[in-house]
Symmetry: C2
Subunit: 204 residues, 2 copies
Amino acid sequence: MPKKAPAPSPHSYHHGHLHDALVRTARHILEKEGFAALSLRRVAHAAGVSPAAPYHHFADKQALLDAVAEEGFAALRSGMLARMAKKANPAARLDACGVGYVLFAVENPALFQLMFGRSDREEPANEALAAASELAQEVLQTAVAQCSPGDKVNPLTSLRLWALAHGVAKLILEAGVKPTDYGLKSTEKLVESLLDRGKWEKAG
Amino acid sequence: MPKKAPAPSPHSYHHGHLHDALVRTARHILEKEGFAALSLRRVAHAAGVSPAAPYHHFADKQALLDAVAEEGFAALRSGMLARMAKKANPAARLDACGVGYVLFAVENPALFQLMFGRSDREEPANEALAAASELAQEVLQTAVAQCSPGDKVNPLTSLRLWALAHGVAKLILEAGVKPTDYGLKSTEKLVESLLDRGKWEKAG
DNA sequence: GCTCAATCTTAACGGTGTCAAGATTCTTTC
DNA sequence: GAAAGAATCTTGACACCGTTAAGATTGAGC
């Protein structure tokens, strides 16, 4: 072997190893340098492979992005569940769910924008991606359901909570909303204040 | 001159006419073909001008996009005010404000994504753009203020309403939320149900 | 009318997503 | 184990992108 072998020799990946390596590399670039730096050629180069190699594992760039987004939804779900696990009563768990949603977005801005952010899509998105997305949604829905046991849950209630959390996340990411603008020290405090259902009716 | 002169001859634009024409053309392409089709070369070609011409009126592509976004914020403000003008009491006006926000987003999806959607921006954005954005925000803030006259308005209340409306808009655009999924016939009905402050506490 | 600044064009550079053709390698089958 | 075939990777190309430099053309002011 020559002294440096930056790229693994052909077929050192097999049975989808390059597939996974590309997703891993893409996510790495996304986190380190943002969405704008995430090009297929760049991912291929970083993975030690030619620019056309990814096309044997993904139909196009969007398919690779979808795979990254799919991992993102799993991570979002994990983040929410981890925060919820620390709370005992259902109401606190529901709060933790929303806070976990927003904090995931704030801590992984580029990934969050990749998970959503695709506006002009007409095709109904990947199937595995849709499944991962729904799995994350279910965390919120069950949290809502356990908050009023026995009662039938109005689907609009879950949707409204989702929309509120999503809006808070997006406003922080896209509109430059900062906790200090509202006299709060941390993003977590801001999110808790915004999502706290007890405070909605007062101080109008 | 060869037989066909599809493009206006040089300097048929003067004193910023091309500037305005480029913004107009960009907005047209954005509405007709979506964000992905909005390239600087395409805008220049559609305006009958060489690929490099826009650089005499805009620092770069983002500057042109900012100009389009600025118009977008003005249109958003107009849309909200138009809907509010039809209502008499302050509470109904506040509702109309939120509905107008979401319906603008749904009716101008690409423009709305352009107005927000910029994630990895470190520079504090254009000044005129920021002004237009704040002008739109003020519509909501005054609507909230007039809803509880005399009282001091908690800034978090306005922010929460903004976040809710923004989240609803983004979920419809990005997550494929449809009114029919919730037994509602129109987007307007869905938005009204989600934003209606009277329904927040019941049907948990 | 000449000068000067503003504006536009042409040409080019590096980068992008994507595809076709060929080379290479693993896997399967005899 | 060797041949055949499928899977994988590379090379090279195409069209498009944002952006810049160098020149041409135009209108305005002295």
